[in-house]
């Protein structure tokens, strides 16, 4: 056990040190991450302006498209989101993606399979998935212990967009849990895709499709509420929306209290499913690999 802790600490420490050496790179990289949010803010401001204009012009006539005039006042909403809520949503998905995105995981596994580096996991007494999970955790930790400063700064600047303020304790707990689960789910989902390379050596096109789907169906690009009803139904049955949409929607109280616990449960089930899947795939894959004699 202590050996594990020491190993873990060493990996963590080295990745931290590596981060600091290239501080110019690092500071630039972290700040740059928030630039797309700015364009999203302006884009949605322009969209809301157009919607508002259209609805005032049409006057008493039926509102166009899904643009609704809320009964309470003049606040324009799109698919139930006010402009502030929309921007808050994008900030929150940044948070979700910080946990769930796994850059280079699947392609890294595929590369190791292709160049035979995977052999070392057949020889050394290290579990491959465990090792990858450990290094990934270390990297995320290393990154976000530093990045928490710019994150906090941006959220502080944008606090005005969170009209509802902090959610209640119960919601907050679900939110944090779903973020942590999003990390684990993201890891095992992408690991499973990487492990497909045992059977098909070239997984880059598959990865491309996966990334595209994640982009749209995780809610990273826009709130899933914007989708047509049927599409929304389908998306709810996929694991992808737990990577970005679900935590953000919980925070913004888009999901009723009783449903969010169920959602969290389903997310946990997906995690278990992909843990199992990746485990089976690794065993079969390594077996197949050694069967071929490398």
């Amino acid at each position: 056990m202590t050996a594990h802790v020491v190993k873990w600490w060493t990996i963590l420490r080295i990745s931290l040190e590596e981060r600091f050496v290239y501080r110019g790179d690092f500071a630039l990289g972290t700040l740059m991450r928030f630039l797309p949010i700015i364009t999203q803010i302006f884009l949605w401001t322009a969209v809301f302006a157009a919607v508002e204009q259209a609805s005032t012009q049409s006057g008493a006539q039926a509102s166009e498209g899904a643009a609704e005039q809320s009964a309470a006042g003049s606040a324009t909403t799109v698919a139930g989101y006010s402009l502030s809520a929309m921007i808050a949503y994008y900030l929150l998905t940044m948070m979700s993606r910080a946990f769930s995105s796994m850059p280079g995981l699947a392609s890294g596994i595929a590369l190791q399979v292709r160049n035979g580096e995977i052999k070392k996991f057949l020889i050394q007494p290290v579990d491959m998935i465990g090792f990858l999970l450990l290094t990934r955790m270390a990297h995320k930790l290393a990154y976000y212990t530093i990045a928490i400063l710019p994150f906090a700064f941006v959220f502080y600047l944008c606090r005005g967009y969170f009209e509802l303020g902090w959610p209640d304790m119960q919601r907050l707990v679900v939110y944090v849990c779903s973020l942590l689960l999003a990390f684990v789910l993201g890891f095992f989902l992408e690991a499973s895709i990487g492990l497909i390379s045992f059977w098909f050596l070239e997984v880059s096109s598959l990865l491309f499709v996966y990334n595209l789907l994640t982009f749209f169906l995780s809610g990273h690009m826009f709130p899933l509420d914007l989708l047509p009803d049927i599409a929304q139904q389908v998306v709810t049955y996929l694991p992808l929306h737990y990577l970005a949409y679900f935590p953000a929607a919980v925070f913004l109280e888009k999901i009723p209290a009783n449903e969010m616990w169920i959602g969290l449960g389903v997310q946990a089930l997906w995690v278990l499913a992909f843990i199992g899947l990746s485990r089976v795939m690794l065993n079969r894959g390594l077996h197949r690999y050694s069967g071929f004699g490398g």
Binding site: Y22, G29, R33, L35, I38, A50, A54
Partner: protein, 242 residues
């Protein structure tokens, strides 16, 4: 890719921006323009910029420096990524589709003029040159920074601003961004000028006539200053051993 996003947005609004904003097919022309420029940059320049950083890291830039031809020229045209040119074909398809829709719409149909087909490619070329200049300047920084793994990200985030109509920034503190990305790092003119020439040729927003000249000036200044940065950076090259 992000066309799906905009299709969904246009489900909820008929325009981006207020008076004189971009309607759906006008915006698709804008998107097509983005694709044109990106595909050209990714085919010809992106692989070379990445290679350049690699050359610096390994110290193999030495050999490029020894050759009796212009170093910037040599490293700008070493590699091509033909696969990225497929996006060019997509852009053509989207442009044709949008133009058909724009010319046949019942309300204010777009009339095409032959000059548009000269000016459009020309300003796309200007846009590509601006993008190329930014890329050269960014890649040069890897000489000073030692390593520049985030080069691609940096590039993505800066050029990200160019993918939106410039009008959306023209409010509140957005004016500061608008000014910076029009006159300091002129990414906003890259797509906006050719797209506007093609999609909204007759709609006067501000004093539109001077924009092409601004784009031209921006292109020239970008190319020259990126070359200056490149030369300066080479002076600081340390040549990693082996």
């Amino acid at each position: 890719m992000n066309i799906g996003f905009y299709i969904i947005i246009f489900q909820h609004t008929n325009m981006i921006g207020e008076e004189g904003g971009w309607k759906q097919y006008e915006f698709f022309v804008f998107l097509a323009t983005t694709w044109f420029i990106n595909s050209i940059v990714q085919t010809f320049f992106m692989p070379n910029a990445q290679e350049f950083s690699e050359l610096i890291r390994t110290g193999n830039l030495d050999f490029a420096l020894l050759k009796p031809i212009d170093t910037q020229f040599l490293i700008s045209f070493q590699k091509m990524d033909w696969a990225s040119l497929s996006n060019f074909v997509m852009a053509v398809a989207l442009l044709v589709y949008s133009l058909i829709n724009l010319t046949s719409q019942p309300e204010n149909p777009l009339t095409l003029h032959w000059s548009m087909f000269l000016l459009y490619p020309f300003f796309i070329f200007c846009g590509v040159m601006i993008m190329y200049s930014i890329m050269v300047a960014l890649a040069s920084t890897s000489i000073w920074l030692g390593r520049n793994q985030t080069l691609y990200n940096c590039w993505f985030y800066i050029t990200n601003f160019s993918r939106y109509p410039m009008e959306i920034y023209q409010r509140g503190w957005g004016w500061a961004l608008w000014g910076a990305f029009t006159f300091v790092i002129p990414v906003l003119v890259v797509v906006n000028i050719p797209a506007r020439i093609m999609a909204q040729p007759l709609r006067p927003v501000g004093h539109q006539w001077y924009w092409p000249f601004i784009a031209l000036a921006a292109t020239l200044i970008s190319v020259l200053s990126s070359r200056f940065v490149f030369k300066k950076a080479l002076g600081a090259y340390r040549s990693a051993s082996s």
